[in-house]
Every structure is written in structure tokens, then in C-alpha cells.
């Protein structure tokens, strides 16, 4: 175990900005990608239902 306490863990030996800056941005970017993709898919599925009622709509 590397860390004596939570504070030590968060401080990252004085490199907190860099380490957490990297990790937080990475996690955020990856999470946002997933959220956006889920939303895109959901709208498309909802749209698929709608175009079933109006089969002649040309996009």
C-alpha cells in the first residue's frame, strides 16, 4: 500500500494537478462519449417509431 491517508492519496506527492488533471479529463471525456452515444441511439429509435406512422417522409 502506497498511501498512509486519503490526503496523501489526493496530494499525489505534490503532483495532484497533473495526475488528477489527466485522470479526471480522461474519465470525463470517455463518459461523455458514452452518454452522447446513448442519447443519439435513443433519439434514433424514437424516430424509427415515428417514421413508421409516416412511411413516406423523405429526410
Amino acid at each position: 500500500m502506497n498511501w498512509g491517508s486519503l490526503d496523501q492519496f489526493l496530494a499525489m506527492g505534490g503532483y495532484a494537478t497533473y495526475v488528477w488533471g489527466s485522470y479526471i479529463v480522461s474519465v470525463l471525456v470517455l463518459a461523455v462519449e458514452v452518454v452522447l452515444l446513448r442519447r443519439r441511439h435513443r433519439t434514433l429509435r424514437a424516430g424509427a417509431g415515428r417514421s413508421a406512422q409516416q412511411p413516406d417522409t423523405v429526410a
Binding site: 500500500m1 502506497n2 498511501w3 492519496f9 499525489m12 506527492g13 505534490g14 503532483y15 494537478t17 497533473y18 495526475v19 488533471g21 489527466s22 485522470y23 479529463v25 480522461s26 471525456v29 470517455l30 462519449e33 458514452v34 452515444l37 446513448r38 443519439r40 441511439h41 435513443r42 434514433l44 429509435r45 424514437a46 424516430g47 424509427a48 417509431g49 415515428r50 417514421s51 413508421a52 412511411p55 429526410a59
Partner: protein, 246 residues
């Protein structure tokens, strides 16, 4: 092999298959990510030269690996789509590009944040970082080209040609940038891992790389599902889908 590959190369059969595969790869990515982070933060020791800052490599190196790997996979799918005229292959190429660009961005971002404490600069014109930046340009070019062509088939083929030209060029670019870097000694900093890397560090990096890999597969499959729906919206099977996802 008895497995009928061509059966799954139709968007209609692949759509539900991809839907079943996404959770599998997502769970794998999450579990591997958790293990990798545990190893990275709690098992791997502090580096005696770089202190705790080196822990950025657990996300930096996987992102950099994936950014290059995805470009190759993308070019391969694009080539397959161009040669065999299978629509699904081209859709896979299109679906991979944004994730690849994202990985490239993350590699650059984490690289900059690693570089600042280690050698006092956010950006060095080092061969690897420069190539990574050019790779980002290549991804952006691919996506911009596909986005500006309305006919999806033409977009697929044009993108495929560009991806292949890019794939031929990537090694040449890397070689030229490396050559350029060694000639300009003043600016060069050796961005290398410390020679004696603890085996737990390496293990953590490999597990994280696997997690990134699984993540990329899951996300690409999600995106390809959306692309299938967009392109096939005039077909009967898409109209027959239940309106809201389960």
C-alpha cells in the same frame, strides 16, 4: 471455419448482435479498468525518479496505443469495404474514427500534463508527440471529408481512399518526424520510460490498455448501431423496430 461470417455482415443481422455484444465489452472494460486503476494506484510503487507523476502513464500509454491501433483497424475496415463493397465494413470505419480521435486527444492531453512536471514544458516537439498531433489531423480530415459528402456510399468510398493513403503515410510521417527531431538536437528531450520499470507498473499499464481496448470496442459497436439506424431508416426492418429501446 464453420462460422458464417457473411451472415453477420448485413446491417440488419449485425444490429441486434452488436446490441448484445455492447454490454459484454462494457462490463469487461469496467472490470479491467477497475483492476488496472487498483494496480496503478495501490500496487505499483512510487517511481524513484518521477515520483507520483509517473502514474499518468497508466492512462497516457493506453490512449496513445489505442489512437494508433484504431487508425490501422479503421483503415483495414475501410479497405475491406472498398474491396468487397460490404456496407457494414465501411460503417465500422466511420464508427471508429471519432473514438480514435478522442484517444489521440487524450494521449496529447495526458502527455502534456505529464511533460510539465517532468521536463518543465507542456509541449515538446518530440517525435512521438508530433506524430500524435499529426495523427489527430488525419482523424479530423477523415471525419471532415465524410461529414461533407451527402451520399453515404460516396462518403464511405472517399473516406476509405483517404484512410488508406493515410495508412501508407503514417510510417513515413513518423520516420520523417523522428529524423527531423534527431537533427534538431536543441529541442530534443528523450521522452522515454525509465529503463528499470517495475513489473507491477508494466502490468498496470497492460491491464489499462486492455480496458481501453474493450472500451473502444463497446463504444464503436454503440456508434455503429446508430449509424445503421441512420442509414437504413427507409428500410422495413428499421420501421418494424419497437420505437423506444428496451
Amino acid at each position: 471455419m464453420a462460422f458464417n461470417w457473411f451472415k453477420y455482415s448485413s446491417p440488419q443481422t449485425f444490429y441486434p448482435l452488436a446490441g448484445r455484444l455492447v454490454p459484454f465489452f462494457a462490463v469487461l472494460a469496467a472490470v479491467l479498468g477497475a483492476i488496472g486503476l487498483y494496480i496503478g494506484f495501490f500496487v505499483a510503487p512510487t517511481d524513484f525518479q518521477q515520483g507520483e507523476a509517473y502514474r499518468i502513464i497508466f492512462i497516457h500509454v493506453p490512449a496513445a496505443w489505442m489512437s494508433m491501433f484504431i487508425y490501422l483497424v479503421m483503415a483495414a475496415w475501410a479497405a475491406l469495404g472498398l474491396i468487397l463493397n460490404t456496407r457494414l465494413s465501411s460503417m465500422m470505419a466511420t464508427a471508429l474514427a471519432p473514438t480514435g480521435a478522442l484517444m489521440t486527444f487524450l494521449a496529447l492531453w495526458t502527455g502534456a500534463l505529464w511533460g510539465k512536471p517532468m521536463w518543465g514544458t507542456w509541449w515538446a516537439w518530440d517525435a512521438r508527440m508530433t506524430s500524435e498531433l499529426i495523427l489527430l489531423f488525419l482523424y479530423i480530415g477523415f471525419m471532415a471529408l465524410q461529414a461533407s459528402i451527402d451520399d453515404p456510399r460516396r462518403a464511405d468510398k472517399a473516406g476509405a481512399i483517404l484512410a488508406l493513403v493515410g495508412a501508407v503515410n503514417v510510417p513515413i510521417i513518423y520516420f520523417s518526424v523522428k529524423w527531423w527531431n534527431t537533427l534538431h538536437q536543441g529541442a530534443s528531450i528523450s521522452v522515454g520510460r525509465s529503463p528499470s520499470m517495475a513489473s507491477t507498473m508494466l502490468l498496470g499499464m497492460l491491464v489499462m490498455a486492455l480496458a481501453y481496448w474493450m472500451y473502444s470496442i463497446a463504444v464503436t459497436l454503440m456508434r455503429v448501431r446508430s449509424i445503421i439506424l441512420e442509414r437504413e431508416r427507409n428500410t422495413q426492418w428499421v420501421r418494424d423496430l419497437p420505437g423506444a429501446p428496451a
